[in-house]
């Protein structure tokens, strides 16, 4: 039971930030696509902006890994 709870906690730790990242990237991606239609020279900056919310899921992944490894 304890193992199942730990696994569930790890899944939550990465799953919730993944949903948040996906939502943020969808908003940034949509705005970025609109921007690129008018200013294609901003491609590089838009790619970076889309990558910014990935911090959440990466940190979620680290927390999940720590839950699994340390508990």
């Amino acid at each position: 039971m304890e193992k199942a709870l730990i696994a569930f906690a790890a899944a939550l730790a990465i799953g919730l930030p993944a949903i948040a990242t996906a939502w943020a990237q969808s908003r940034i991606g949509a705005a970025g696509a609109g921007t690129l239609a008018e200013r294609p020279e901003l491609t590089g900056i838009i790619i970076i902006l889309v990558a910014i919310p990935e911090t959440m899921v990466i940190l979620g992944f680290v927390v999940a890994a720590m839950i699994l490894l340390m508990l």
Binding site: I48, E54, I58
Partner: protein, 628 residues
């Protein structure tokens, strides 16, 4: 690196202004900046005023502008030819050009007008021909009756044809016949045959229904039906010949005169630019003064050139760059060999200010290392190296693909290096086939050590950024800002050591005193930066934690490679296994190029550069000839 600039002032007698501007224009190394004089001198010295051209110069400028407009209008009408610019010097023959351009413009305008009419007629005739050719079979079916009136119409679609048929039968009490055909260009056309008495009401009906009738030119309209198409062919042929003749005439004029006029236009454009540039100069009763910016290394050469050209009458003086000038100094970036291709990344950012740093060398140093840390695989590194060599050799230097190749080459070398350290060759294939073993970390298992390594890289990178930020503030004579950044740097280091002491207790690493140290520094931070300073400290710690992505993305990459190998092995067939593993490795390599690039850049742009880079510089745009 940011090239050292010099603020210079050029002073000389008023009558030498245009010649001086011409010399500066030719050299293409000077950027005038009238705001410098406005800011420094005008307030104290009312003898200094913006330059107003004298009557002679004004008349000359007006003449050149008018001539420029006429020559441009002529060139617009003349067809393009090869060998477009004459080596002729236009100034001595400018009066002649002035006379000739009017004659040529009138002639070319007339020829162009006739040619436009002629082309329109050709278009109409071609359309008529298509129309009547499509109707030819229908005409053959009709009786050769001299009392017969024929009307050609264009029909929108089958539905309109049906409606029209019903309407016309009703209006003419069945005394007309309508037949239809499709032309070679796909449109639907109709031929209405009726007697001459009914024709009038038929015209009216078509007009009411807004159905366009096709009419022939008058000289063809009265011809017998059979001869119409032959006559149309001949008429079209003669019109095409006329068009060709007119085009040849225009081409002949263009071949003969376009190079000369093109040269004259370029010369006039440069000359008018000189007049416009006089707006950047200020004058006293006898002298002109121009202030601006140029590369420091070019100052002596330009001074010597001015001395030689004006026998000492025009003087160039270098002035001190004042603190209030710093934001105005234009910025020019130039990087030596290895670093130059990395400008493709720094160009994504706005220019740094003159007192800040060029981010290119820092990206050149750290980007390939981060990329290698994340991808770290000998197999992928070898493939990327091959692609990089192909791009760098296949495309000429300075072009984007060649630059990408060079950047990828550096990144691939670090990928190979870290691949050796991690003992990875297409994931665990190296260990299975070649007996490779991790020298440093086994990334697929050592998650915690790899996390600590990534965070350590983050601490070093962020501390370097904060140090550069403090130095930058010192260079800008902002000691308060520099002190804040230094205090923040110490606070971050204390916090980092406190965290290390918390997780890995050591006798010499006591968390309590370290946290007290942070507490002592806090009033200094708040005094220097306000109440948001503690938030800044937390943000910096967040920036450091962000470097954990080096481990996370690398971990995903190695696991995908291992999965590719395992899936390949599970197929039970060598060829299918190679295909499956190959496809998955190709996908992983694609991700392995994209993700490390984006995340390495993000670590630079968001975490690292925010600590020291002051963006918003003005680009150095020296005054240059557009036409050499």
């Amino acid at each position: 690196m940011i090239i050292r600039m010099a603020k210079v002032e050029i002073v000389g007698p008023k009558q030498d202004l245009l010649t001086t501007l011409d010399l500066l224009h030719n050299r293409g190394i000077f950027q005038p900046d009238p705001q410098l004089l406005e800011r420094v001198e005008l307030a104290d010295d009312d003898r200094l005023q913006a330059l107003v051209l004298d009557e002679h110069d004004l008349r000359e400028r007006s003449f050149f502008q008018d001539l420029y407009d006429r020559v441009a209008a002529l060139l617009e009408l003349l067809p393009e030819t090869i060998d477009d610019i004459s080596p002729l010097q236009p100034l001595p023959v400018m009066d002649l050009i002035d006379e000739l351009v009017d004659q040529h413009l009138a002639k070319v305008r007339e020829l162009s007008r006739i040619l436009t009419d002629c082309r329109k007629e050709v278009d109409d005739l071609q359309r008529d021909l298509i129309f009547w050719q499509a109707l030819e079979p229908l005409l053959a079916d009709l009786p050769q009756d001299s009392n017969l009136e024929l009307l050609g119409i264009t029909i929108r679609d089958g539905q309109q044809l049906q409606a029209l048929e019903e309407l016309l039968q009703e209006r003419t009490q069945g005394r007309c016949h309508i037949s239809s055909a499709t032309t070679t260009d796909g449109s639907l056309i109709g031929l209405i045959a009726t007697d001459r008495q009914t024709a009038e009401s038929l015209h009216q009906a078509l007009n009411d229904e807004r159905v366009p009738e096709r009419s022939l030119p008058e000289e063809l309209a009265n011809l017998p039906l059979a001869q119409r198409i032959t006559a149309l062919h001949e008429h079209l042929k003669s019109k095409i010949t006329s068009c060709h003749k007119l085009e040849t005439q225009l081409l002949e004029i263009s071949r003969r005169w376009r190079p000369t006029y093109h040269r004259a236009l370029n010369w006039l454009e440069e000359r008018l630019t000189l007049y416009r540039a006089t707006a950047t100069a200020y004058t006293t009763r006898l002298c002109f003064i121009i202030q601006g910016w140029m590369e420091h290394a070019e100052v002596l050469r330009l001074r010597a050139d001015l001395n030689q050209a004006f026998a000492g009458r025009v003087v160039l003086e270098q002035q001190a760059i004042l603190e209030e000038d710093l934001d105005q100094v234009p910025v020019m970036l130039r990087n030596p060999g290895y670093f130059a291709p990395f400008e493709i990344f720094s160009r994504l950012l706005p220019l740094p200010k003159y007192s800040s740093y060029d981010p290119t060398p820092l990206i050149g140093l750290f980007f390939p290392v981060f990329f290698g840390m994340i991808l770290g695989d000998i197999g992928y590194g070898l493939i990327l190296l091959a692609v990089a060599i192909f791009l760098a050799k296949r495309f000429p230097p300075q072009q984007l693909p060649s630059d990408i190749g060079k950047v990828l080459g550096a990144a691939a070398l670090y990928t190979l290096l870290f691949g050796f350290l991690y003992g990875e060759f297409f994931g665990d294939l190296g260990e299975t086939w070649l007996g490779l073993h991790p020298i440093w970390f086994d990334r697929s298992k050592d998650i915690l050590p790899m996390t600590i390594f990534a965070l350590t890289v983050g601490v070093v990178h962020i501390i370097l950024g904060m140090t550069l930020g403090a130095l930058s503030d010192l260079r800008r004579h902002q000691p308060r800002q520099a002190l804040f950044k230094l205090a923040m740097l110490i606070a971050v280091l204390l916090l980092v050591f406190a965290v290390v002491g918390w997780f890995y207790p050591q006798s010499w690493l006591n968390t309590g005193p370290l946290l007290i140290g942070v507490g002592i520094l806090m009033p200094v931070l708040i005094a220097a930066e306000g109440l948001l300073a503690p938030l800044e400290l937390l943000k910096t710690m967040g920036n450091i934690i962000s470097y954990v992505r080096i481990m996370a993305i690398g971990f995903c990459s190695v696991l995908l490679a291992v999965v590719a190998n395992k899936l390949g092995g599970m197929t039970g067939d060598v060829m299918v296994g190679i295909l499956v593993a190959g496809l998955l490795h190709a996908f992983n390599l694609l991700l392995g190029v994209f993700a490390p690039t984006v995340h390495s850049l993000r670590l630079h742009y968001v975490e690292f550069f925010s600590k020291f880079l002051d963006l918003g510089g003005r680009r150095f745009e020296p005054w240059q000839k557009r036409h050499p």
